[in-house]
C-alpha cells in the first residue's frame, strides 16, 4: 500500500515537473530565437527517433512477409538463371559437337558427363551424348589429366560407361616415356589412387615418375599422363606392384573427350579370325 502510494506520488511529481518544464520551454521557444531554434532542433530529433523506432518495430513485424517475398523472388531468379545456363550449355555443346577431330588412328569428340557414381566398387558414368551424336561403344573416355572410363552401351541420346573407379577396369600403361608396360587398376579405396602391376624387377624407377597410357590397346591413345609413382612392393619375388597417385580428380569431372579407334573393328576382326581357330 505504502509502495503504491509512493509510486503514485512519484508519478504525480513527474507529471507536474514535465508539465511545468514543457510550459517553460514553450515560453522560451516563443520568446527567444536561439531557444526556438534549439527547441525545434531537439523536437525534430525526438520526433525522428520516435518515428524511426516505430518504423523499426513495424518493419520487424513485417519481416516474415518480406522473407517470403524474397524467397519467392529468389526462386524465380534461380529458375531464370537455370534456364539461361541450360540454354548456354546447349549452345556450347552444339558448338563442340561440330568440332570432331581426327588425330592419327583416333577420332575425338567432346562430351559431357551427366551422371557419375563414386561410392561403389563398380562405378559407372552416364555421358550426355548418344548414337545420334556419333558415340560408339568401346570408345575411351579421357581428359587432359587421365583416363576416365570406357563407353559400354549407347542409346540414342546417352551413353553408359564403365568408370576407371571400377574393379573390372584395367588400362594398359607405361612407366615413364620409354619404360616397362603394365596394367593399371583402381586401388578400390580412394578416388585418386591406382595400382600399377607386373613391372619387371630389372627396371629402375623413382617415386614421382609419371605413368602414361601405353597405346597398346585399341581403346586409349598413347602417352596420356595418368599419375605419378608412389610406394612400391615386390610381389611373389617376380614383379613390382606400384602405388600410383592419379592426376585426374574423380570428384567432379564435367567435360571429357571421347576417343574412338577408327581401326578397332578391323583389329577385332583380325584378332577373332587369327586367335579363334
Amino acid at each position: 500500500m505504502a509502495v503504491g502510494k509512493k509510486i503514485a506520488g512519484i508519478l504525480f511529481n513527474a507529471a507536474i515537473f514535465i508539465g511545468l518544464e514543457v510550459a517553460a520551454l514553450s515560453l522560451l521557444g516563443h520568446n527567444g530565437q536561439v531557444q526556438n531554434f534549439f527547441l525545434a532542433k531537439a523536437l525534430h530529433g525526438f520526433m525522428a527517433k520516435t518515428w524511426g523506432a516505430s518504423e523499426s518495430v513495424r518493419y520487424y513485424f513485417s519481416l516474415k512477409g518480406v522473407n517470403e517475398a524474397l524467397s519467392q523472388e529468389n526462386f524465380q531468379l534461380s529458375q531464370r538463371l537455370k534456364a539461361y545456363e541450360s540454354e548456354e550449355e546447349k549452345k556450347r555443346m552444339e558448338a563442340l559437337a561440330g568440332s570432331f577431330t581426327d588425330i592419327g588412328e583416333f577420332h575425338y569428340m567432346p562430351a559431357s558427363i551427366v551422371k557419375i557414381s563414386r561410392n561403389k566398387q563398380h562405378n559407372y558414368l552416364i555421358i550426355g551424348q548418344g548414337t545420334e551424336d556419333g558415340v560408339q561403344p568401346h570408345s575411351g573416355i579421357i581428359s587432359a589429366h587421365g583416363v576416365i572410363g570406357i563407353v559400354d552401351a549407347v542409346s540414342k541420346h546417352y551413353a553408359y560407361a564403365i568408370s576407371f573407379m571400377n574393379n573390372d577396369f584395367s588400362v594398359s600403361t607405361r612407366l615413364g616415356r620409354e619404360g616397362p608396360v603394365g596394367p593399371m587398376v583402381w586401388d578400390g579405396k580412394s578416388s585418386s589412387g591406382a595400382i600399377l602391376r607386373q613391372i619387371p624387377l630389372q627396371y629402375r624407377f623413382e617415386p614421382g615418375d609419371t605413368v602414361y597410357t601405353s597405346g597398346f590397346s585399341s581403346i586409349f591413345p598413347a602417352d596420356i599422363p595418368l599419375g605419378t609413382v608412389g610406394e612400391s612392393r615386390i610381389v611373389n619375388g617376380a614383379t613390382y606392384e606400384i602405388a600410383v597417385s592419379l592426376l585426374q580428380d574423380f570428384g567432379a569431372p564435367r567435360y571429357v573427350t571421347l576417343a574412338s579407334n577408327k581401326g578397332k573393328e578391323e583389329i577385332d576382326e583380325l584378332e577373332e579370325r587369327e586367335v579363334a581357330p
Partner: protein, 169 residues
C-alpha cells in the same frame, strides 16, 4: 512567521529582479538568488508545491526582468523537484520528518554552502545551456558557470541565513 517568510520571499524576489535589470557586470556573471529561495522553502511543502512555486517565481522574474521569458522558470523547476531530496541528502531525513527548516546555526556553514552550491549548479547548468550554450565556446560557458556559481553561492548563503533567521532565535 508565515507572513514574515512571505514578505522576505517577495523582497528577495524584487531584489532578484533588480539584479537582473541593473547589475550587468560582465557576460560571465549570472547572479541569481532564486535557487536559494527555493531551497529555503519550508520543508513541509511538498515537491509538487515546491515546483509550482519555483515555476511562478521564475516566470515572475522572467516577466519583470530583461531577458527571455521562460528561461528562469525552465531552470528553476528542476531545483524545486530536487529540493526535498537534496535536503534529505545534505541535512538528513530527520529534518523532513520533523518538518523543521535547516539553518547555519543547526548544521554549520559548510553544509549550507554545500547545499546552496548544489542548487546553484543545477540552476546554472540548465540556465546557461538554455541561454545558448551550444552556440558559444566551451571555455566561455565554463567560466560563466564557474564565476556565477562562486558569486551566487556566496550571496545565496547570506540569503539562506536571512531565511533561517527565525529558527536561530
Amino acid at each position: 512567521m508565515r507572513q514574515s517568510f512571505l514578505l522576505q520571499y517577495i523582497l528577495l524576489l524584487i531584489a532578484q529582479v533588480l539584479i537582473c535589470n541593473y547589475f550587468h557586470f560582465t557576460p560571465y556573471l549570472t547572479l541569481t538568488l532564486l535557487p536559494a529561495l527555493i531551497l529555503c522553502l519550508p520543508t513541509r511543502l511538498s515537491t509538487a508545491a515546491g515546483m509550482l512555486i519555483a515555476f511562478v517565481t521564475g516566470i515572475t522574474v522572467d516577466l519583470l526582468a530583461e531577458g527571455v521569458v521562460g528561461l528562469n522558470a525552465f531552470a528553476l523547476v528542476p531545483v524545486g523537484l530536487l529540493r526535498r531530496g537534496l535536503v534529505r541528502f545534505v541535512f538528513g531525513e530527520e529534518l523532513l520528518v520533523r518538518g523543521e527548516n535547516f539553518s547555519i546555526h543547526k548544521f554549520g556553514l559548510p553544509k549550507v554552502i554545500f547545499a546552496v552550491f548544489l542548487m546553484q549548479t543545477v540552476f546554472l547548468v540548465l540556465y546557461i545551456w538554455a541561454d545558448g550554450a551550444p552556440v558559444r565556446p566551451f571555455l566561455f560557458n565554463f567560466w560563466r558557470y564557474f564565476i556565477s556559481v562562486a558569486a551566487g553561492t556566496l550571496l545565496s548563503v547570506v540569503v539562506a541565513d536571512l531565511f533561517t533567521h527565525d529558527d536561530r532565535r
